[in-house]
Symmetry: C2
Subunit: 140 residues, 2 copies
DNA sequence: GGTGCAATTGCAACTATTTGCATTAAGGAT
DNA sequence: ATCCTTAATGCAAATAGTTGCAATTGCACC
């Protein structure tokens, strides 16, 4: 079963209604394989369904984010980007000066997630963390 | 010397021009002692200066953020909040379900910052990290 | 297969933030 | 103190994202 069927089925089990619009958004997001904006999803969506609306895209992305199927990232480029967790866990190191985005892994992340869980009972989503700072080039 | 004089002087040294508007924004932000929105800063600012503009506030906050004097946080409440680092380092644990924000400290943060610096040469700003997830109440 | 009700949609209006551009003014040189 | 350069401002228009509401439609129940 594909990743997007899993998402759709789980949403249905949780009491959400599955509309064609939602299926299309999930499909586009799950197959994007990269970070994508709401606008891009809307553009692709319009090729598949006659009448639809940007706010439906935003609302669906909200649901996916609340339910833990998508991550949203403000990479400080003026737009928010979204991805499914399929895209793989990593940290975005976003430079405040040049806006460059460096993808990183951190072995410390798991330890931090565990610490947060044990101390605060908070289930942190560390799949796509954005961390701001100054990149090597800019601090040189 | 107060914190906001330090900021102003450093900005001047770095080649920024110090306008009354900038001084006021820095002063309000440095003395807020909490997270504050651009709109709140603008409201307070209007009590001190006749003619001014919201976009000036946004532009000044951008500079302060780029130069490392302020942090910006999207707490997913529809507005972005700002603070100086004076406010003290901590993590915001933001619940995706109920939007509750829990402030936390993490001993693991320093280790992570060090790891990121040594592996990627990236100077991460971990003073005010926002981490999304599900809070203890909502996961119960 | 038909019915009912509440969730979801499309639309339009609204809020938050950014940007282009003409004007103003900071601050280094004189 | 005045001049000059160019960064910063104010304004208005644009862009990103949200929200209220009437119309539509999924889907649970018969």
């Amino acid at each position: 079963m594909s990743h997007c069927n899993t998402i759709i089925d789980t949403l249905r089990q949780r009491g959400y209604r599955i509309t064609p619009q939602r299926e299309i958004v999930v499909d586009i997001l799950a197959h994007a394989g990269r970070h994508i904006t709401a606008e891009e999803i809307f553009d692709q969506m319009q090729k598949r369904i006659r009448v639809t609306n940007l706010s439906t895209v935003y609302r669906t992305l909200d649901v996916l984010w609340e339910e833990g199927f998508a991550c949203r990232n403000d990479l400080s480029e003026g737009k928010t980007v979204y991805a499914t967790h399929q895209h793989g866990p990593h940290i975005h190191l976003v430079c405040r000066r040049c806006d460059a985005v460096l993808d990183a892994n951190s072995q410390v992340l798991d330890a931090m997630g565990e610490e947060i869980r044990s101390r605060y009972g908070f289930d942190a989503d560390l799949q796509h963390l954005s961390i701001f700072g100054i990149c090597a080039d800019c601090s040189a």
